[in-house]
């Protein structure tokens, strides 16, 4: 803790230095935030237009201008394609003076976009991507990873289950980078806690028929079937597990469950399932107040990445104000030197590697009888302190220590 305070002080001082060293002020007389997300595809509900709404809300709540200059929000659809996303961001930087990119969902797109942003020394505000690569092996001094990551999911969901005696695991994994990362990190947690992974099967992304994989899971005799996939894949895998009676003989654990997925599931199948989330709308008065405003504008309750997009934008704008400039190095230093604190970010700080560490929630899906409304989906089981949820920083990504 002491060491952390020290680095924070150092960062604050370097931020102050950066401000005096440079002329300061806002480049091109406008602070422009681009929101890049999947607007119409499989990930549209977990960020998409909702992220745009959240960023716009943050800009309005901030007052619409910073350091006397207007704040502008533009957005684009990345169609979940890294080529489309990086081309768009390149164009934003080269011909539209964008200062930071918010949103960012599919890990593949985020990976390509953060490379472009780092080359151009612009800030990446990552709201919904799950991969922990952006603050580990692909870390950058310009990356900010806000809402959650695969490590937090594995630590939050898997650890308590293994501890409670569910030792034998079988994974149905989405066969691409995110699924592999999730399976890998969950396997490590299971082994560390004295459990065992008895098998895994890789299902191609967008698999429609999971029955064959479910049969294999059934034959493995595992206590828990871990679903290392997301979105539609997760929903389909769970549905098929129930259909083939797997849910009666073993626990099924969803490693990444988004609110809208949980909402769409039949409570008869999903009730009791535990999940880790970075945010839930119905936690306390603060979350309810903001979520109500969001729902009024967007039409549905906020997903965690959407709440994160708001929180992150606020922190970014506050940092510009405090630093007196929108120059990326100074803003990054200031974001890391000051603690975010709002309805989303609890006991939170932005680590030097760009990881935002905050309290996560362990929730369970409610059964049909105890739901008060359509949006009443989760029981909050426990608050997971940020330092428990997120893995420690890698030395190679400690940019403050290096400089």
């Amino acid at each position: 803790m002491q060491a952390m305070k020290k680095t924070m002080m150092a960062a604050a001082m370097s931020a102050a230095f950066a401000v005096t060293a440079q002329a300061g002020g806002v480049s091109d007389d406008v602070v422009k935030i681009g929101v890049l997300a999947d607007m119409g595809g499989v990930y549209a509900d977990i960020c998409g237009k909702g992220c745009v709404t959240a960023v716009e809300m943050a800009v309005e709540d901030f007052g619409g201008e910073v350091l006397g200059k207007p704040i502008e929000v533009i957005s684009a659809d990345d169609q979940n394609k890294p080529d489309v996303g990086s081309a768009k961001v390149r164009q934003w930087i080269e011909s539209e003076q964008v200062d930071a990119v918010n949103g960012l969902v599919a890990s593949s797109v985020t990976g390509a976009v953060t490379k472009v942003l780092t080359d151009a020394k612009k800030v990446a505000l990552i709201s919904t991507s799950a991969s922990h690569a952006f603050t580990t092996k692909a870390c950058s001094p310009y990356n900010v990873h806000w809402t959650y990551n695969v490590a937090a999911l594995a630590n939050g969901t898997v650890k308590p289950m293994v501890d409670s005696g569910k030792k034998k695991w079988f994974f149905i994994t989405a066969d691409y980078a995110f699924g592999h990362a999730l399976e890998g990190i969950a396997t490590k947690v299971i082994n560390d806690q004295g459990g065992e992974v008895v098998g895994a099967v890789r299902a191609p992304l967008g698999t429609t028929d999971f029955s064959s994989y479910v049969l294999q899971a059934q034959a493995s005799g595992a206590d828990v079937i871990g679903l290392a996939n997301a979105g539609t894949d997760f929903v389909n895998a769970l549905k098929t597990s129930a259909e083939f009676g797997l849910t009666e003989t073993a626990d099924v654990a969803g490693l990444l469950v988004f609110t809208h997925n949980a909402k769409a599931l039949d409570p008869a199948i999903a009730a009791g399932m535990k999940a880790t989330t970075g945010f839930y709308w119905d936690m306390d008065d603060q979350t309810r107040e903001w979520s109500a405003r969001f729902k009024q504008r967007h039409g549905s309750i906020p997903a965690m990445g959407q709440a994160g997009a708001y929180s992150m934008t606020m922190h970014y704008l506050n940092a510009i104000k405090a630093a007196g400039t929108d120059e990326a190095d100074a803003v990054m230093a200031m974001m890391k030197a000051t603690k975010p604190d709002d309805f989303f970010a609890r006991n939170a700080y932005l680590r030097n590697d760009g990881r935002m560490v905050h309290d996560m929630l362990l929730v369970s899906i409610k059964d049909a009888a105890s739901r008060q409304s359509d949006d009443d989906i989760y029981n909050i089981e426990a608050v997971i302190p940020g330092d428990v949820a997120f893995n420690p920083m890698m030395e190679s990504c400690n940019f403050a220590a290096k400089s």
């Binding site: 890294p82 080529d83 990086s86 768009k88 080269e94 593949s108 066969d175 980078a177």
Partner: protein
């Protein structure tokens, strides 16, 4: 003489274009134009509809991208390797596909392309869903730094002109005449003693190599190779470009590529992103029902009628 003037003025325009328009956009148009021209060599001049042509575009991209990332060779060699790889794949796939004709040919090429798609999806060297990111543009011949967009543009333009010239040459060679004969009347070509399948096969190889050249170049421009370029959607897009511009015309695919890329660029920014596929579909139907000669074809008809 008239034609030479046309080419010269187009060449002049293409030299000046990046001063007015965003160079990355122009490079994208050039890459797709070359891809469409390569595709048109098959559809327009041999009458073969390859519904999996994206696989050659993507193969070029993946090979060039992974060599540039891992070996540090110069970009011209990287592009050459990508082109050759696409040509080799074309040789294998072409040999299989020319066994069937007409719509069967279309289905076989689509299925073969899907086979390679799943291979690229799982092969470790392609980066799967992530693709190959941060591909360096490198130093051309070890001398010229391509990281500047303007320099890159003229390099891409040179590649395009080379590819275009090659196709032009092929069509107007004796070999090209036989291809046209096959398109017009295959049984007759057979009866004249030509081994039709071999001619089709060679055309297929040339076409796939040039598609690979386009893909290799595109990977350098965007510094990225991804699954988009091997997906069947991309195969559909190149059919659309060729159909819209005018199949069997020299300039049709270029015009078609420019129009389609412009539409996509325009739509992807705004609220209309979801309509891209609807609009593409509608263009297909309109072209097939009422506009089969495409933009350039119709224009040529008009010129012939009125002048």
């Amino acid at each position: 003489m008239k034609v030479n003037k046309l080419y010269l003025s187009l060449f002049g325009l293409s030299l000046l274009a990046p001063l007015v328009l965003y160079p990355v956009f122009l490079m994208k148009v050039l890459c797709f134009a070359l891809f469409a021209c390569a595709f048109n060599l098959l559809l327009g001049f041999v009458g073969l509809l390859s519904f999996g042509h994206a696989i050659f575009l993507g193969t070029g991209g993946y090979i060039t991208g992974s060599l540039m990332l891992n070996t540090g060779i110069t970009p011209e060699l990287g592009i050459l390797a990508g082109t050759v790889a696409a040509g080799l794949l074309g040789a294998v796939y072409g040999k299989l596909a020319v066994k069937r004709e007409g719509i069967y040919f279309a289905m076989v090429t689509l299925a073969l392309a899907q086979l390679a798609f799943f291979f690229y999806l799982q092969a470790p060297f392609t980066g799967g869903e992530d693709g190959l990111q941060g591909v360096p543009r490198g130093m051309l011949f070890g001398l010229v730094d391509l990281s500047d967009n303007m320099v890159m543009y003229y390099f891409v333009l040179a590649i395009f002109i080379f590819g275009f010239w090659l196709i032009h040459r092929t069509i107007h060679s004796p070999f090209g005449q036989i291809l046209k004969a096959i398109r017009e009347n295959e049984p007759r070509a057979v009866s004249l003693g030509y081994n039709v399948n071999d001619y089709k096969w060679v055309a297929f190889i040339i076409s796939s190599a040039l598609a690979g050249l386009a893909g290799s170049t595109k990977t350098l421009v965007f510094q990225l190779a991804s699954l988009t370029d091997v997906h069947w959607h991309m195969s559909g897009e190149v059919v659309l470009m060729t159909l819209l511009g005018g199949m069997g015309t020299i300039f049709g695919p270029v015009v078609g590529a420019a129009v389609v890329v412009t539409i996509q660029n325009y739509l992807s920014g705004g609220e209309l992103g979801n309509y891209i596929s609807i609009i593409m579909g509608a263009i297909f139907i309109v072209c097939v029902l009422a506009f089969r000669s495409g933009i350039v074809g119709e224009f040529q008809k008009m010129v012939k009628k009125n002048f």
